[in-house]
Amino acid sequence: MAESMNIKLKVWRQAGPKAQGRFETYTVPDANPHMSFLELLDVLNEQLIKSGKDPIEFDHDCREGICGSCGVVVDGVAHGPQRRTACCQLHMRHYKDGDTIVVEPWRAEAFPIIKDLVVDRSAFDRIIAAGGFVSVNAGSAQDANCLPIAKTAADLAMDFAACIGCGACVAACPNASASLFTAAKISHLAMLPQGAPERKSRVTAMVNQMAEEGFGDCSNHAECEAVCPKGISISTIATMRREYFKAMLG
């Protein structure tokens, strides 16, 4: 097969949360350019299983860049070299025969490693639970458009709502800060009339929860925006800060 590629992988292996981890090097002799990066890991895992070894654990679900389950650091960049692309949508055509790829889990104390490349991202769930929602007294559904929302506001809110909660922003941040994730939700809801009544309690509670979980503070490196598969802008972080200042003023 002319298109077959020989790819070397240096992968972080860790048996459990408390276990000592280490890098293992593997060779996949029959990779090809049409594979996605996760399919490369699948092929490697088949190889490992056949030789009686433990397969590499990694998170994934949709494999089409919409669920936020996948996420590993590929050659030093969260989700790998392609911009605005979750690693499930990264394809091997960006690599060439003989390449070595380093694969590591997200590294942050707030995202403890469960096994190999799988980390526990429930800290994100607790940040959302602290206020990333709109309280509604459920009744019958309202008519569409009974709450007018300007197109520009709706579009921006949609951009911010695009966050899939993958955690790449934390992984890439030199400070392991969760500011982009938290700010995306705060900004999304702050753009909309439904979110307005709770905006002050929301921003305070979510920012406090973020600190509580042990994420670092933001130093404005903006690395998060560069790796975010949804291209969420750090302007959300500026918005979060303005929201917080307003809440401070009472």
């Binding site: 104390e109 800060s177 600190a211 670092g216 503070d217 903006a222 200042f245």
Partner: protein, 232 residues
């Protein structure tokens, strides 16, 4: 929430670094412009220093404000850095920036280093000049001069004396280059910290901030080099 809790939150810390950072930028800018008066002669420089001293209580108030700004800036900066180390105890084997739109640079990664060097420099600088010979608590008749009949401290003489030494002239120059690095990330960062940034403004403010940092640094460096190389 109490004010103390708000200010120690992740956003509150940025409010403090942002405000103190910008305050210090205004201070270093004015200080740099003041220093340039030496290029109009020693008398002009001494008169400028005397003018500041004549502010009396107002000067003390401004100095007290500066001390507070420096302390809050330093303590906050160190807290943010320590927090970032705690938030990721085990680093990556391989790590690189993904490139634009990241603003991660040598400047942004070295804020704590350039900042701490600036802090140490500040202490030496105050001891050499402000509290040096002829300064408060250090009366020295050989550092007194008279300009247009008025007796005043001969600060210009001290500056000439210090910057004649290569260690002082080049050490000062080196630290000012670190200030340029600090401000290259710092000025833009402070506006983003205060929530005053939009994506369309980022490249402009980043560029102007870096230029301002460069202008401040070069303005400071002009004096020691001019003195060391006998230009003035």
């Amino acid at each position: 929430m109490s004010l103390k809790n708000s200010l120690s939150s992740p956003v509150g810390k940025k409010l403090i670094t942002g405000i103190t950072g910008l305050g210090l930028v205004v201070f270093v800018l004015l200080h740099m412009i003041g220093n340039l008066s030496m290029f109009s002669g020693d008398d002009a420089y001494n008169e400028y220093a005397q003018l500041l001293a004549s502010f009396g209580p107002l000067l003390y108030l401004m100095e007290a404000g500066l001390v507070v700004f420096f302390l809050f800036h330093i303590v906050n900066g160190i807290q943010i850095w320590v927090g970032s180390k705690k938030a990721r105890r085990m680093g990556y084997d391989t790590y690189r920036s993904a490139g634009k739109p990241s603003q991660q640079t040598t400047s942004s990664r070295s804020m704590i280093v350039t900042g701490l060097v600036l802090g140490v420099f500040l202490v030496i600088h105050l001891a050499s000049f402000k509290f040096g010979p002829g300064g408060p608590g250090n009366a020295d008749p050989s550092y007194v001069t008279s300009v247009a009949g008025e007796e005043m401290r001969d600060l210009a003489k001290l500056v000439h004396h210090k910057f004649a030494s290569p260690i002082y002239a080049f050490g000062y120059t080196f630290v000012m280059l670190l200030l340029v690095l600090h401000l290259r990330h710092g000025v833009w960062s402070a506006f983003q910290s205060l929530g005053a940034m939009r994506p369309s403004l980022t490249p402009i403010v980043y560029g102007l901030g870096a230029l301002l940092g460069l202008a401040i640094g070069l303005g400071f460096i002009a004096l020691p080099l001019a003195i060391y190389f006998n230009v003035i």
